[in-house]
Point group: C2
């Protein structure tokens, strides 16, 4: 495949119009952290109007906040962010399997890696709206996440591009 071979041409065009972005400071201008899924259909900068310099963007399979915690603590304690927006999305892969499904599959494909498989929690979820509420609650209750800040929870609709606030 070598998809990386497309990077250089695209990057040359980006560099040509880079301009003043080279002087942006490290701390996010909007003091905002976004957590969302790695899903290929999602471009958070595009669907939220986020520009370079505006916000930290954390992405993983599901947009799971438990795994994002290390990054959130660094974002808040070292780089001054004071607001979090959590996004999960419709048609998410994380709704389609359980830990036991994926572990069985991996044990079959990689019998020699049983120990590594056992140690991973794949963090799937069964209910989309509830998963957003649970993740916001996890952050609100965590002793290392700033108190008295805005933490909102959202669903992104891959079918329409629309965002819908849940919390």
């Amino acid at each position: 495949m070598d998809a990386f071979k497309d990077f250089e041409a695209a990057n040359e065009r980006y560099v040509e119009t880079f301009g003043a972005k080279g002087a942006l400071p490290l701390p996010p201008a909007k003091k905002l952290t976004i957590v969302t899924c790695m899903d290929a259909r999602i471009d958070p900068a595009a669907h939220l109007g986020i520009k370079e310099g505006d916000a930290h963007v954390i992405r993983n399979a599901g947009g799971v906040c438990k795994e994002a915690l290390r990054s959130i603590v660094i974002s808040q304690q070292l780089l001054g962010t004071q607001e979090i927006a959590v996004f999960h999305h419709t048609d998410c892969g994380m709704l389609t399997f359980t830990n036991s499904d994926i572990k069985s599959l991996l044990e079959e494909r990689y019998p020699a890696a049983a120990d590594e498989v056992k140690d991973i929690d794949f963090l799937p979820f069964a209910n989309l709206e509830q998963s957003v509420k649970d993740d916001v609650q996890f952050l609100k209750q965590h002793p290392l996440v700033l108190k008295d800040i805005r933490i909102t929870g959202w669903i992104y609709e891959v079918e329409t591009g629309k965002v819908r606030q849940i919390v």
Copy 2:
């Protein structure tokens, strides 16, 4: 602050031109997974020419592959990706502290959360180029990452917008 109040107006404009993107399939068209930092100055879709539907994008503090492993396994085993591009970047916050620095700071600010602080590895790194090589090597050697696939390692320059291949 309430930066989230800007989401809705930006999202309305995005939805207006969403068009055929609503029919994109879940598996990434380029069979590609990108790992990069949460840094606010980085817009991977823009600097690499990645469009909605093309690639999984995993982002965390540093673009650390150890933490991205769960997502990479899901990406490869359930959604068919067969190539990984790892990006770290110049002027990264992860180069500016050690685990012991941030743990001392957190223990001082959150004395009641000493147990939580002890349990977190903040995964900082001291040398940018070496950190890219180490992360690519981690993936190449991991028993749950596909063998015989392309895994490249890159540095993104926040000063110029340019990408530079390391591995």
